[in-house]
């Protein structure tokens, strides 16, 4: 937001909180790694047109209530799936009371609503922010049309809000802070993309200034950029925090994603972070509450969940300093042409091998027959044993399907030399985490076809992206005809998948056939026949170069 966001532009990023940049009048969407790579290569990003939820903001935030309470109110009303398939657009007279960073706070946790994106207008407030960053010339005005209508209407009277808090273990589990008054806490955590601004840290510093935090409490401060940290130092806020007993950490995500500062099991942790799903903090049985910096700082003083309005002090006023720091980037920007740049790779960073396109006629043994709801954790778990090798396809593939069958890797490597293999599954195959390695690793081992009763949507896309043919049983009873070791014969596959979404496959050494179906679009078919999206992209580049 500070250095790169521009009004009127689209932004695709591999972080789920990319959407925060909607605060600047951008269409900012989080997506998977391969989608982002394709966009960098100039390809469009495809998304089903969302509905637009218009949220009219009126009134003004009372003292001690801040932007975090606005998005917590949205979560209270709509919960974690309430934004799915929607873009949330904020408008109305209440907007003028929200700074650009306030809007960042609100747009950021649109991800927790499940929204595709969140959009704010690019108005004088955004212009002022860009001016403070020395980027005023990058501002353009972008506001809703007169009389714009929305698919869904919502309204929030900012004046009616009170300090809110999300209880463990969901961002949607929101109640007034006053309902939890007196609950003891062990940790208070300031920072993260959900409260990243100067105001968020400065207000916490002013609340604890001249006082001492509660005994036995860990008050953790995680600045969100070097630029911000420098401003906080220059304006005395770091000194206030340290004097009160805070622990300073370097700028970064840190404890928000479980990288350090993990709370003690079952002990309450108050955080200004965006998520409190079980285990996110790095502690299995954690008890994490999500709140505003005001609530977190007030509670740090008392050692228990505290409504900041009950503090015996005037609500601090924070003035944004002018930013004259342009050293946000430690390294120089990339050169205009990357052709001469030498990539230095460590031993655990290898190249993705070239995958051959799928053949037209082939026979494949079934190396695994699985049941329902096979998750990507069962295909390739993202644990500490495995993830260090995520850039080393040769190594990470050794862990594929080990949860289900430890011998799979050996069988797959043998079958790879003979043309590859297929697997069979039940309903909802590939559910859970979106990790692409759950398709890439088996593909490396020679997986060419996945035949199931039905697919989880994201894993289906990953299979296509890596050139694996995803098929469904037209008659689920045919699942019983196949066992591990069965060999299926595929004839004229190229023509078959283009001609129709249904064709027959023969069981080798028998008279039986199985009818299979696919849900591939024309684009998906092109990608699968090319051997995956990377090949498809390379072929396109050769045609146009």
């Amino acid at each position: 937001m500070q250095r790169l966001a521009k009004p009127g532009k689209t932004l695709l990023g591999s972080d789920s909180h990319t959407c925060a940049n909607g605060c600047m009048g951008m269409l900012a969407i989080g997506a998977g790694g391969i989608d982002v790579a394709m966009a960098i290569a100039g390809e469009p990003y495809y998304v089903k047109m969302p509905q637009i939820m218009g949220v009219k903001l009126t009134g003004d935030l009372p003292d001690w209530v801040s932007a975090k309470d606005v998005i917590l109110e949205m979560l209270r009303r709509h919960d974690v799936k309430g934004g799915v398939g929607k873009i949330i657009e904020y408008y109305g007279p209440g907007l003028k009371h929200l700074s650009a960073m306030d809007r960042h706070v609100i747009a950021n946790m649109g991800a927790e609503l499940g929204a595709t994106a969140t959009v704010f207008p690019s108005d004088k407030v955004v212009k002022q922010f860009l001016k403070q960053q020395g980027r005023e010339d990058e501002w353009t005005e972008l506001t809703p049309d007169q009389g714009a209508t929305y698919d869904i209407h919502e309204e929030i009277d900012l004046s009616s809000l009170e300090p809110l808090i999300a209880k463990p273990s969901s961002p949607g589990n929101v109640v007034p802070v006053s309902e939890l008054k007196g609950e003891p806490i062990y940790q208070s955590y300031i920072g993260s993309s959900a409260n990243p601004g100067y105001r968020d840290f400065a207000i916490a510093a002013d609340i604890v200034k001249g006082k001492t935090i509660a005994e036995g409490l860990s008050f953790d401060i995680n600045p969100t950029s070097r630029q911000l940290l420098t401003q906080l130092v220059d304006n005395g806020h770091i000194a206030s925090l340290l004097a009160a007993g805070a622990r300073m950490h370097q700028a970064g995500c840190n404890g928000c994603i479980g990288m350090g500062q993990a709370p003690a099991t079952g002990r309450n942790s108050l955080r200004t972070t965006p998520r409190n799903f079980p285990g996110r903090s790095g502690t299995k049985e954690d008890s994490v509450f999500l709140c505003s910096p005001e609530t977190a700082a007030a509670s740090a003083l008392t050692g228990e969940i505290t409504d900041p309005r009950t503090l015996d002090m005037k609500y601090p006023t924070v003035n944004e300093p002018k930013s004259d720091h342009t050293d946000g980037l430690l390294e120089a920007p990339p050169k205009p042409s990357g052709a001469s740049v030498e990539l230095e790779k460590g031993p655990n960073i290898t190249s993705i091998p070239n995958f051959s396109p799928i053949e037209n006629h082939f026979e494949l043994p079934v190396l695994l027959k699985m049941g329902d709801n096979i998750s990507t954790d069962e295909i390739l778990a993202g644990g500490s044993r495995v993830l260090p090798f995520r850039s080393n396809i040769q190594k990470i593939s050794t862990f594929t399907f080990e949860i289900i069958d430890e011998a799979y890797y050996e069988r797959a490597m043998k079958a790879r030399d003979d043309g590859g293999h297929m697997v069979v599954g039940g309903v909802n195959y590939g559910q859970g985490s979106s990790r692409e390695h759950a398709a890439l690793a088996p593909r490396y081992l020679g997986l060419k076809v996945v035949l199931v009763k039905d697919f989880a949507r994201i894993h289906l896309q990953n299979l296509i992206n890596f050139g694996i043919l995803p098929l469904r049983f037209a008659h689920t009873s045919d699942y019983e005809k196949i066992d591990q070791g069965t060999v299926l014969s595929f004839e004229n596959v190229h023509e078959a998948i283009q001609r129709s979404n249904r064709f027959d496959v023969k069981i080798k050494d028998s008279d039986e056939t199985i009818t299979v179906e696919h849900d591939l679009t024309d684009r998906h078919i092109d990608i699968v026949l090319a051997g995956g999206i990377i090949n498809w992209m390379k072929n396109k580049s050769n045609l146009t170069s």
Partner: protein, 58 residues
């Protein structure tokens, strides 16, 4: 202590936590967070939703 009926969960290596593609931690879905998988324990395949941005919904 590991009993003969229980095995250290391979997925999470006994930690009870896995990570998604952004390194967000989550409770291991294989052992349900306790770090061990008992051979007498029936596998629970809870259905997990994902949203349009490829993220797990919980």
């Amino acid at each position: 202590m590991t009993g003969s009926q229980d095995m250290r969960c391979k997925a999470c290596d006994g930690s009870g936590l896995l990570m998604d593609d952004e390194e967000w931690r989550y409770t291991c879905s294989i052992c349900n967070g306790d770090g061990f998988v008992s051979k007498y324990e029936a596998a629970e395949n809870d259905i997990v939703d994902t949203d349009i941005t490829n993220r797990t919904l919980e």
